[in-house]
Assembly symmetry: C2
Homo-oligomer: 231 residues x 2
């Protein structure tokens, strides 16, 4: 069971590249096959309700899976059948936020009348804002992706959405002569890396940097750095 499993989100980002239905995460609809059985659907809801309650009252890190099961009134088998690990519970709880984020991004990044690099700068700001708002859940998701799940972070649909968005913007920027040529696949990951949740929280909380300082520095480094030289 993948971390980002469940709900489908219609994404129409960047000239059709992501225009097909793409599973993101969350509670609810299924991609294919039959619908969830009624008891299964109720367990899912009860688990997520209980988890949301416990997380907001005591903090994500302080709540164990057993505790979630107990509060939801379901056994361990049921809990782990629905959500393979705590990261999946957190991913499901993020569903609504991700949906809003991807819609907001889709609206603006779809337009081709605006500079691609400007849109990329705006996108990085939005992503920072998203991380800021959802830091506890994102942190727990990161924590749960260790050992055999180490690469899961980068294979899930949400990260792929981010990467496809950045790739598409870079592609357009290069095609229109706004940015110099580059290895788009590889650079897309590199552009996203400085906003990984671990580093972001460290800079914000331990180094005491303002959010605007971080996004400004990234814009200057990456966006201005990519821009074709004015000679």
């Amino acid at each position: 069971m993948s971390v980002w499993q469940g709900l489908l989100v219609k994404t129409e980002v960047v000239s059709g590249i992501l225009s097909r239905e793409m599973p993101i995460l969350g509670e609810g609809a299924f991609g294919e096959g039959r619908e969830e059985r009624r008891d299964a659907a109720e367990s899912r809801r009860r688990i997520l309700d209980a988890a949301g309650e416990l997380f907001s009252s005591r903090g994500v890190d302080e709540v164990s899976m057993h505790e979630i099961g107990r509060a939801a009134g379901v056994g361990q088998g049921t809990l782990y059948r629905r959500f393979g690990h705590k990261g999946e519970v957190c991913s499901a709880l993020l569903g609504e936020s991700v949906r809003r984020f991807s819609e907001r991004v889709g609206e603006r990044v779809g337009r081709e009348d605006e500079s691609a690099l400007d849109q990329l700068g705006w996108f990085l700001g939005e992503l920072a804002e998203f991380s800021e708002q959802n830091a506890p859940l994102l942190g727990a998701i990161r924590d749960s992706a260790g050992g055999g799940r180490r690469v899961e972070m980068y294979r899930n649909p949400f990260y792929r959405l981010l990467r496809e968005t950045v790739s598409a913007l870079l592609r357009r920027a290069v095609a229109q002569g706004e940015a110099r040529p580059l290895d788009i696949e590889c650079v897309a990951d590199a552009v996203l890396a400085p906003l990984n949740i671990g580093l972001y929280l460290f800079q914000r909380q331990e180094m005491g940097m303002e959010a605007a300082r971080i996004t400004d520095a990234l814009s200057r480094l990456l966006i201005d750095g990519l821009r074709t030289r004015v000679e």
Copy 2:
């Protein structure tokens, strides 16, 4: 007990900025206070020997802390007194590699006769090579930095060494007019982020990218991006 505790390494990097003794990690010498008691020193060695043996025969992820203790012939109390968690065992085992790495870097980055940005490009290549060589231990260290230890990754002396090196190079590049002005503190983290072990392994193994492709793309993005425009 910090992840990077123990051994001292003499670092003379970049015009004296890191010239004082700086604790990095490892087995052996202590920074201050009395020496380790003989039984404690022997426990440490036995633990590290056993861990090294088990790790190389079965893989880091497949070995538990209890197993290490049993193989080393020490109790759990002793094991956890020496190394607060598995990440610290891995850090200690990395000691020798880190020492060689920092010496190699120190030799070249100390010289001011070479372009700072060229040195930065070389440094990123060395760092990628280091990650490649030590991927299993680095991965396990990353995994162990979760929950309450989420920021530990960025506070440990090894990461600080990396950041100081990058900062110093950026500072010199800006001072000499080779790079345009920028927020050095913030950009140093951003420059290092694309080489974090999780992403690096994903690109190498899952995306099938060659090491040279990754470092080339980073050089073009970051180094060329920072370079002052030729007008």
